[in-house]
């Protein structure tokens, strides 16, 4: 039976009431009930039903209610799934989770009630920001939240386990499931956001090192490191301090992200309202949680099994530890790049921004040893390893070096750094590819994920190296003639939709080898709120994306045109899916072992 005791029943009731109020809010959005302030501010009668529903979490109040919903959902699921654990541990986990729930609940009621009433009732709402009216972005928040908030259960149960000195191989096995669930959702959530930024913002990139992107990347880095530490803990019962610290930091970083985007310190599409009170509340709550967890970590955490702590230099443990340090370094870079501008503004009121060159310079060189360690690490044994029967490792190194030299040789890029980088990526690629044939199904999930990662790095590298771009201003009927392309702006057409008017441009693009492509980017003029957005037209095939956007400059007859060729775009998305698939495989496979 599920409801075998009162605590589980009460937890269910808590979840049940939150979901009732969430469904209530969705109903108000669907029925366009403008007596509700949240609905009035973020909806409109002419909006399609799908975006009325997604508007529920497309605003501050609703998204916090969703956050609360996920918090209660996860603790309920945790109680059901943890029947085989001790009672004390389960109760203490529940306690820590309830502290978080109470904190967010108070926050919701005090500063951002989604059910505020307005009188007199307005006839029409203010509408949802049109760039949020998009399928990928409609499901992006719930998925990302499952990842973000999912890490709360890891946080609570790790604190409980530390307090009770409960950390063991069995515990690691049990908590691994939760780490995997939250990691999978977080990865997909980031992917969706990235795909959206690619086609909706019209810049043709997929990652801008924007602070809002960084705050989702930081928990991801911590969570990925945690996942690897849990694997070590499960097998060898070492690295316990790593596990505890990483569990704490993952959730803290998720909270930090919420604080930064909600407080209005960072400006982006996620900043729904600039309300200092909200920021302050989250900040205080965040400090309480950090203080509490550090207290528990320092006073209750005991390192056990001294003897199994020792391992030799050449072992799986060492390689995982090395990669942990690299991950922490990447995390530190992103963290400093994100918060340093805020910090500087507070202390010296100087306004600065940190751009992609900073991250590229600090992260790319360190990717090289990171990739090599990723390729070789899984080949080593636990505790102690010999370098016998490992000649193929050298052979593959030579192979990948040759392949990358041939690829890079004729290109107009920095030869040395690119060759080494591509070599390391190809190295991981070949080694993991080989494992699919030699190791069969042993460690398949790790293999899929690492293979996906090598594919991701390769696609990103080639995407950067081979991208071309033409930016020009054209009047209707004009043709741009460049060395490689001829862009003919044939005509524009108008179309009226329910909540926007569209101006569709017709472009014929002639390649140097004579093939002609037709692309039709759009400008959309939304009626409520009155905003112009441009919709890129993208033609995707396995090798490249052709990407075109147009913008109209006010009161002028010139259109601002941007045409880009982006190679291997689809492989970037695909490889992230592969990485996720690796996690999913591990999750499902473990479930089967349990039965």
């Amino acid at each position: 039976m599920i409801f075998d005791n009162k605590i589980v029943t009460f937890t269910f009731l808590q979840f049940f009431f939150v979901i009732i109020s969430f469904l209530g809010l969705i109903m108000s959005f669907v029925n366009s009930d403008f007596s509700n302030e949240t609905v009035f501010n973020h909806s409109h009668t002419t909006k399609p039903l799908f975006y009325k529903i997604s508007g529920t979490w497309g605003n501050h109040e609703g998204s916090l209610l969703l956050w609360l919903l996920v918090l209660t959902l996860f603790i309920f699921l945790f109680l059901i799934k943890s029947k085989d654990q001790t009672k004390q541990y389960r109760i203490l986990t529940l306690l820590f989770q309830q502290i978080i729930i109470i904190g967010f609940f108070t926050f919701l009621i005090k500063t951002s009630n989604p059910f505020n009433y307005i009188f007199p009732i307005p006839n029409e709402g203010l509408g949802l920001n049109p760039i949020l009216q998009d399928p990928a972005l409609a499901i992006h928040p719930p998925i990302l939240y499952l990842g973000y908030v999912g890490s709360s259960i890891i946080f609570s149960s790790t604190l409980a386990a530390t307090t009770l000195n409960y950390i063991s191989k069995e515990w690691a096995k049990h908590i691994k499931q939760w780490v995997l669930v939250s990691w999978i959702f977080l990865t997909i959530g980031i992917l969706l956001g990235s795909i959206w930024a690619y086609y909706e913002l019209g810049w043709g990139g997929f990652w801008f090192w924007d602070p809002v992107e960084n705050v989702s990347l930081m928990p991801w880095l911590a969570l990925t490191t945690l996942l690897h530490c849990i694997l070590v803990l499960e097998k060898r019962l070492t690295l316990t301090s790593w596990v505890v610290v990483l569990s704490i930091s993952t959730f803290t970083l998720s909270m930090c992200g919420t604080f930064l985007v909600r407080s209005g310190i960072l400006n982006s599409v996620h900043t729904f309202a600039n309300d200092p009170e909200r920021g302050l509340f989250i900040l205080i709550f965040l400090f309480c949680l950090i203080f509490m967890s550090l207290f528990i970590f320092f006073f209750f955490h005991k390192v056990k099994n001294k003897d199994s702590n020792s391992f030799f230099w050449l072992s799986k443990e060492t390689s995982i530890l090395i990669n942990n340090w690299f991950m922490m370094y990447f995390l530190a870079v992103v963290l400093i790049g994100t918060i340093y501008p805020i910090f500087l503004e507070v202390i010296s009121s100087e306004k600065i921004s940190v751009g992609p060159p900073f991250y590229n310079k600090l992260i790319i060189p360190f990717l090289i040893p990171f990739l090599f360690a990723m390729a070789i690490g899984p080949k080593l044994n636990w505790i102690k390893s010999e370098l016998e029967n490992k000649t193929y490792l050298v052979l593959f190194l030579i192979l990948s070096l040759l392949v990358s030299v041939f690829t890079i040789k004729n290109l107009n890029v920095n030869f040395l750094i690119n060759t080494v980088l591509v070599t390391s990526a190809f190295y991981l690629f070949f080694i993991t590819l080989r494992d699919f044939f030699t190791k069969k199904f042993k460690n398949l999930s790790q293999n899929i994920a690492h293979f996906g990662f090598s594919l991701l790095i390769l696609s990103i590298l080639f995407n950067n190296i081979f991208s071309t771009e033409i930016i020009t201003n054209l009047k209707i009927g004009e043709t741009y003639e460049g060395a490689e392309f001829k862009i003919n702006f044939e005509k524009i057409e108008q179309k009226n939709e329910k909540n926007f008017k569209a101006i569709i441009g017709k472009f014929n693009i002639e390649n140097s080898n004579g093939t002609i492509e037709n692309l039709r980017p759009e400008l959309r003029i939304y009626n409520q709120p009155n905003i112009v957005t441009s919709e890129a037209d993208i033609k995707t095939n396995l090798l490249k994306d052709s990407f075109i956007t147009m913008n109209l400059v006010q009161n002028q007859d010139y259109f601002n045109i941007r045409y880009q060729i982006k190679p291997f775009m689809i492989w970037i998305w695909f490889s992230v899916l592969l990485i996720t698939l690796g996690g999913l495989k591990s999750l499902i496979l473990n479930k089967r072992y349990e039965k």
Partner: protein, 139 residues
């Protein structure tokens, strides 16, 4: 003398410390090089020398100042006290228009002439870059 284990541990701690210091140094160093400062037209007037570094200029696009040709766009950024001429060839965000806030990134040629390499996209019509808001409030 110390045992082998202690020596090893000492060596390990040393290694960790060195890496830590090195990486912090590296991060701060490249932060210094890659940071982009934000300035308003008035602040630019007060500059003593023109630096070659990339900066951001923010303010309002002056009314009737946009002119567009095949290769470039020219406009004037004003904070209602001082103004600066901007030339730009690149993608213009949708919300770029006269009388609205704008942030341009690029290089100063002299105190009244700015070559932009990027105009930052805004996400909604009511949005005003905080830097611009502060610059406008200062007057």
């Amino acid at each position: 003398m110390y045992g082998k284990k202690v020596k090893l541990r000492f060596f390990f701690v040393l290694l960790v410390l060195i890496t830590l210091i090195l990486s912090i140094f590296l991060i701060l160093k490249s932060l210094e090089e890659n940071v982009v400062y934000f300035q308003s037209p008035s602040e630019i007037q007060l500059l003593e020398e023109i630096e070659k570094k990339k900066i951001r200029v923010g303010g309002m696009v002056k009314n009737k100042s946009i002119s567009i040709k095949a290769k470039e766009i020219r406009f004037i950024i004003t904070d209602f006290k001082n103004e600066i001429n901007v030339t730009y060839s690149g993608v213009v965000p949708n919300l770029f228009s006269e009388g609205k806030g704008v942030v341009a990134e690029g290089y100063l040629k002299d105190k009244s002439f700015f070559i932009a390499t990027k105009i930052l996209a805004k996400h909604d019509e009511n949005y005003m870059p905080p830097e611009v808001k502060a610059a406008l409030e200062e007057k």
